[in-house]
Symmetry: C2
């Protein structure tokens, strides 16, 4: 079983290498496995797709969900060549795979110039204190839609 | 100027209402404004697109970046009907708009059953302690790709 984990991680690392060497994005790759088979694989595509959300994990989660026809990754394992940034960590929690295996860690990512650590620090700040300024606006009107959701009988929760 | 913020927030709220009433996803909408004009608008599409990453902010950031042909949102303001979840907060930091205006807050989202608060709590835990299990695997091999990135002369940073 341990060998399987290493084998799938090696494939995630190969995806990272492929994306980087083809100038598609940063050096990050991922695969998603279900029942011992890879059902999706991807790499960072931020630069080539002009999509700041196209991190390896997000790309691969989107592909796996499309393949499964579901917005949940029940019974799946995500292998990623680097510990997820906050965006990808959030995506993982919304997709809810059973487990995550990561190669490099957050500090390794910071060492080669990626902002993951900075974003983790910003998350814990009050919104007034962040580098990107956040402002509250129009809460009363926005709440009316939330109230309608709470009362909606045919809503699909996710 | 304050009226402008309220006007754009109102449009984000309309997007939230549209998506919810058409059963496309949760009650969340967003717009992105540049030079006083809306350049992209979106709503949550998780359920209808089977994409757990299709939150209003992510959808709208992706559209705005596609329109601008850039992976950065310089000079843009994001209006979102609810304070961003960790995934969307991360996406915002990677896209780097100038500012963010939000309607409902994190507690309001929790009150109608969304996991934002839970995910914020999980982020601060050591990876061993999280509800979704995270495991380190294959770091030495993964680091070789990071080293190649650090030495890559034609890399595009983002």
């Amino acid at each position: 079983m341990s060998n399987d984990h290493e084998k799938f991680m090696q494939r995630a690392i190969e995806m990272a290498s492929f994306g980087m060497h083809n100038n598609l994005g940063g050096p990050f790759g991922a695969v998603i496995v279900k029942d011992g088979e890879i059902i999706a694989e991807g790499h960072n595509e931020v630069v080539s797709s002009n999509d700041p959300t196209a991190h390896a994990e997000v790309v691969t989660i989107r592909k796996a969900c499309e393949k499964l026809g579901d917005f949940q990754l029940d019974g799946c394992i995500l292998y990623t060549s680097c510990e997820p940034c906050p965006m990808c960590l959030g995506a993982i929690y919304w997709a809810r795979p059973d487990a995550v295996y990561f190669g490099c860690n957050k500090k390794d990512a910071a060492d080669i110039g990626f902002d993951d650590h900075f974003i983790y620090e910003e998350i814990d700040l009050d919104f007034h204190q962040r580098k990107i300024k956040f402002h509250s606006c129009g809460r009363e009107n926005a709440l009316t839609v939330f109230q309608q959701w709470a009362e909606k009988e045919d809503r699909t929760e996710y």
